[in-house]
């Protein structure tokens, strides 16, 4: 009986407590820097696309919401000819970001992408590609991996060491 009265008092005091509700459109919840929200494609510090169309993100995606196809420019540098993410399927797991070898695909703290028309949730490459570097600054995949140019393969230019053979266990 006493515990019931105590319950009543405590619940009554909760009337005057600070409320847990965040009144969304006016107030916004804090999103951590590594919050997994909308997916973007970033550029390297020199302004080129980071994506090399390796398909690893599409393979890693558990709901198969990423579709892309690769092509090469005149220097033999690969880039996606189209890159499409269906956000009505995406579950924001971040596996694509983990799979990406070039930091191209990234999830950013933004979830406000509601649409009235379901088709509008299919984002094309021009919707995904941003001008900046996203979360990882100063990284350029080709500066690290090297790039074959005319008459010179990877590692044959000055101050370059030959690339690691990924099929061998030897150092």
């Amino acid at each position: 009986m006493l515990s019931h009265i105590r319950t009543l008092c405590l619940v009554f005091l909760h009337l005057f407590r600070k409320k847990a509700t965040i009144q969304y459109p006016e107030e916004k919840a804090y999103l951590a820097p590594r919050y997994r929200g909308r997916i973007i494609l970033s550029r390297d510090p020199d302004g080129g696309e980071r994506c090399v169309a390796c398909q690893l993100c599409a393979v890693a995606c558990p709901v198969d919401c990423i579709a892309l196809d690769g092509t090469e420019d005149e220097h033999g540098r690969r880039y996606p000819s189209f890159f499409r993410i269906n956000f009505s399927r995406c579950i924001y797991c971040g596996f694509c970001e983990e799979a990406c070898p070039t930091y191209a695909i990234q999830l950013i703290p933004d979830f406000e992408m509601a649409e009235y028309n379901r088709k509008n949730l299919v984002y094309e490459k021009e919707d995904l590609l941003i001008d900046g570097e996203g979360k990882y600054h100063g990284y350029n995949f080709y500066r690290v991996a090297g790039l074959a140019i005319k008459n010179k393969d990877k590692g044959e230019a000055e101050n370059e060491s030959p690339p690691v053979d990924p099929k061998s266990l030897l150092p």
């Binding site: 019931h4 319950t7 009543l8 405590l10 619940v11 009554f12 909760h14 009337l15 407590r17 600070k18 409320k19 847990a20 509700t21 009144q23």
Partner: protein, 319 residues
């Protein structure tokens, strides 16, 4: 003015106020419950979310009014009306201010008890006519719960009747000029509060409709405004019980003179409605056997004891 005409006008005014109050209470309850649970509740539509009432009413009127093919149609339609009628009739004996009472009856207490007993028919018939298992179980529970709690509800009031020496509610209020009956009749007050809570089948005692076990209990098959009638009837029952607790135990319209009697009455009633909402937010639903055991094993003997002690004290004093 002609007393009959005055009664009719007052009755219409009470009807008007009560129906609006029932709608208003939907909002009050949702907001208060939310605040007690550290939420905000409906606060978007209109000032303080008040337009949620309008939205609710529009919604409930435009829903499909469906009668199940297996239901007992006449009874099914009749049941929700009964709860409204009995709750409204219960208000006819409540004095809102000196002379401001629809039916100044000499058997006011008995009339109220009769009306609240009649209200059970609504739930039982609704549960029976729905012809589905959950509804029937809800109706069954209601009948047992009411039967158990009705008994000492009346007995709890008898202490008041002995002290006031009248069954007329206006006289009972007048008898509290010196001291509110909650002081000499505290046990009676607690008993009446519990019984009234069971009578209005609200949350700690909402076993007839227990959402987590009986889906919606007796009104599980009801839709649209038929369900709305049950809903409004429940709020009216809540208001009625609050008004009667105030009348019987908290001096009705009596209060310091700087506010008119009707305002005092309304304020006290509102406080008790708030208290009932607090009970809903705080207390969990008892098990069914616990409920009945409490009623018969503790509360009924306690009310009998209260009655006997009160009678003896009054006899010794005036003997």
């Amino acid at each position: 003015m002609d007393p009959t005409l005055q009664s009719v006008l007052l009755g219409l005014a009470v009807l008007f106020v009560l129906l609006h109050l029932a709608g208003f209470l939907i909002w009050v309850e949702r907001r208060l419950l939310a605040l007690m649970q550290d939420r905000l509740g409906p606060n978007r539509a209109g000032p303080f979310g008040l337009f949620i009432i309008v939205a609710d009413i529009i919604k409930i009127f435009t829903k499909e009014d469906w009668t199940p093919p297996f239901a007992d149609r006449p009874v099914f339609v009749l049941a929700p009306a009964i709860i409204m009628i009995t709750a409204l009739l219960g208000f006819t004996v409540v004095p809102f201010a000196p002379g401001l009472v629809v039916m100044d009856s000499n058997i006011g207490v008995l009339f109220f008890l009769a009306m609240s007993s009649m209200g059970i028919y609504s739930v039982i018939l609704g549960g029976w006519a729905s012809n589905s298992k959950y509804s029937l179980l809800g109706g069954l529970r209601m009948s047992a719960q009411m039967f158990s709690y009705e008994v000492f509800m009346g007995l709890a009031l008898m202490g008041i009747v002995i002290l006031a020496g009248s069954l007329n509610l206006s006289d009972i209020v007048e008898a509290q000029r010196g001291m509110w009956f909650v002081v000499p009749q505290f046990v009676g007050f607690v008993l009446f509060l519990i019984a009234g809570l069971a009578e209005s089948h609200r949350l700690p005692f909402d076993l007839p409709e227990a959402e987590s076990e009986l889906v919606a209990g007796f009104h599980g098959e009801y839709s649209s405004m038929k369900f709305g009638m049950f809903f409004v009837g429940e709020y009216m029952g809540l208001t009625l019980i609050s008004a009667l607790i105030v009348t019987f135990f908290f001096g009705g319209w009596l209060g310091p003179a700087f506010l008119p009697p009707v305002v005092w009455f309304s304020l006290k009633t509102a406080a008790f409605i708030g208290f009932f909402i607090l009970l809903r937010a705080a207390i969990p639903r008892p098990r069914y056997d616990q409920l009945l055991a409490w009623g018969w094993k503790y509360l009924l003997p306690l009310s009998l004891l209260n009655l006997v002690v009160t009678a003896v004290v009054v006899l010794v004093r005036h003997g």
